[in-house]
């Protein structure tokens, strides 16, 4: 039976898998100990659970458990990687290379570092959302300390050529940091095969709990160090002080284990549903996919419905379907999505976009319902849209002098 409301905003956060929740529950009350308490059974139980989770997390990304630094989430991990490397490698240089479509946790941290003397190059992306590797290489200077390029984009799902990026960076002795928040658990990520030195990711995007994430920090070839951004008891090998969130970490570990076991079958099922949704919606006139369709996360689709405004569109069904839009009206800033604009989309198309993030618990009847609801709403709103009328009359909308307000 169809269950409403339908959740298709899995890029924002995923529901927790019941198996994850089950694993966590003993660590709230029964095993409440501090993992740093070395002298009694309460501490031992907590430490043992954390150690086990650290192995589960490390295994998913092909890392050594010692290379996992638990944090409060991906934003903190992004901050720690960028600020920590910037401070630690100050003697080598002050230049960081990133891209315009990065998450705000990376972009705003870079802006912060610029105020403190960093030089940052923001690489442009093409209409698929990919950086140009030649531009990347050309941007490297003797003072470049790090390339910070996301693994996969949160709005359009475009997967960056991380292996090629890291090969270039390594050739020049530059560290590679990737925000892999959307990728880990969804597609195979291997820090060694991919040549990654630092990597941020989080539990709540892979059916784990909120409030826990990790920074992978390479220990060999090269040994990477970051300056701690949180001072205190010297937890996490001195890189991140603060009592460990034991239940969260246990859940994170379990979530990683499940992703590892079920990634292949999940991907197969979810990408089929995504393709069904996408091809059905593309039957509507003037509907366009944003970003790369070839290099893309299997559960993501970002589609613009020209001449219909995103928030208005969402209103047609948001009681029953949870989605995001790149429209300005859905954000606090009143600016349309900077990611879509970076692809070269006009503001009008950015305003008209919807982001679909499918997940482990998405069902086929939910997708069928969504196709119907969205198609109907698009058609209804176009009947109401002056732009659609003009388009149908063959008027070139660019020829009109709009009074921008």
């Amino acid at each position: 039976m169809l269950k409403l409301p339908i959740y298709l905003d899995n890029n924002a956060t995923t529901p927790m898998d019941p198996r994850v929740f089950e694993t966590m529950t003993p660590y709230f009350m029964e095993h409440f100990g501090n993992a740093a308490s070395r002298n009694h059974p309460f501490g031992w139980a907590a430490e043992e659970a954390v150690d086990y989770a650290r192995e589960q997390v490390a295994k998913l990304i092909g890392a050594d458990p010692k290379e996992i630094i638990f944090t409060s989430g991906a934003t903190e991990a992004d901050n720690l990687a960028l600020k920590g490397v910037y401070e630690m490698y100050a003697a080598k240089g002050n230049h960081i290379i990133t891209a315009t479509t990065e998450h705000k946790a990376v972009l705003d941290t870079c802006k912060h570092l610029e105020k403190n003397g960093a030089e940052v190059t923001y690489l442009q992306v093409n209409k698929e959302g990919l950086i140009d590797l030649k531009e990347l290489e050309a941007a490297i200077r003797p003072t470049t300390i790090m390339v910070a390029i996301m693994y996969a984009n949160n709005e359009i799902g475009t997967i960056m050529p991380i292996r090629e990026i890291s090969a270039i960076a390594r050739k020049h002795g530059v560290l590679v940091f990737t925000d892999a928040t959307q990728a880990v658990g969804k597609i195979p990520v291997d820090v060694n095969k991919d040549g990654i030195d630092l990597m941020a990711f989080t539990a709540h995007k892979m059916y784990g709990p909120k409030g826990v994430g990790a920074l992978y920090v390479r220990r060999k070839n090269p040994r990477v160090k970051v300056t701690a951004q949180m001072d205190g008891g010297g937890h996490e090998r001195g890189m991140r002080s603060g009592t460990l969130n034991v239940p969260g970490i246990v859940g994170f570990g379990k979530a990683c284990e499940l992703c590892m076991l079920e990634m292949e079958s999940d991907t197969k099922r979810i990408s089929k549903l995504r393709d069904k949704l996408e091809s059905a919606l593309l039957l509507l006139e003037e509907a366009y996919v944003n970003g790369s369709r070839e290099h893309r996360l299997p559960h993501v689709a970002n589609i613009s419905f020209k001449h219909v405004e995103g928030e208005g569109l969402l209103m047609g069904f948001n009681k029953n379907i949870a989605l995001s839009s790149g429209s300005a009206c859905t954000s606090a800033s009143l600016e349309p999505s900077y990611v879509l604009k970076a692809l070269g989309l006009g503001d009008d198309l950015a305003h008209s976009s919807l982001r679909f993030g499918l997940g482990r618990f998405t069902t086929e009847d939910q997708i069928d319902y969504t196709i119907k609801a969205i198609s109907e709403t698009v058609i209804k709103l176009r009947e109401m849209s002056p732009l659609w009328e003009m388009y149908k009359e063959g008027i070139d909308l660019n020829s009109i002098e709009w009074a921008a307000h």
Partner: protein
């Protein structure tokens, strides 16, 4: 953000969606906003030239629910008013009627601008001087 019931009602059952003959002398058309800004309103009035009364009003809007509701409400208010009365419609009345939150006030401003633009278009077509309005403040 939760929408007020009135916004939802106008969104679901918009009043007076449609198109009047813009070449007709007794029809005034106002097209305001810009696609880049995420909202475009087209508001039209049909005026009985003998009495100066607005006999019909239609709109089409590209925009969020609040923009659609603001223009739908505006057309309702316009019908049966004289052109002079229509000029007095203030955007804050729309804000109050629809319970628009501060972030959506610009939708009501756009509706007021659309009314004024439609009236000026009508005046121009009928050899009357365009009225100069003060720039709306909230944008």
């Amino acid at each position: 953000m939760a929408y007020s019931e009135k916004v939802i009602d106008h969104y679901q059952n918009p009043k007076n969606v449609g198109t009047l003959d813009k070449s007709s002398k007794n029809v005034g058309t106002g097209l305001v906003g810009a696609p880049e800004c995420g909202d475009v309103m087209r508001l039209q009035i049909e005026v009985d030239q003998a009495t100066g009364m607005i006999t019909d009003a239609k709109f089409k809007t590209f925009g969020c629910g609040s923009a659609i509701a603001s223009s739908s409400l505006a057309t309702e208010w316009l019908k049966g008013k004289s052109v002079d009365e229509a000029l007095k419609i203030d955007n804050m009345e729309i804000v109050e009627e629809l319970n628009l939150p501060p972030v959506k006030i610009h939708c009501s401003v756009l509706a007021e601008d659309a009314i004024k633009a439609a009236i000026n278009d009508y005046r121009e077509k009928n050899g009357l001087e365009k009225i100069k309005f003060e720039e709306s403040v909230v944008h």
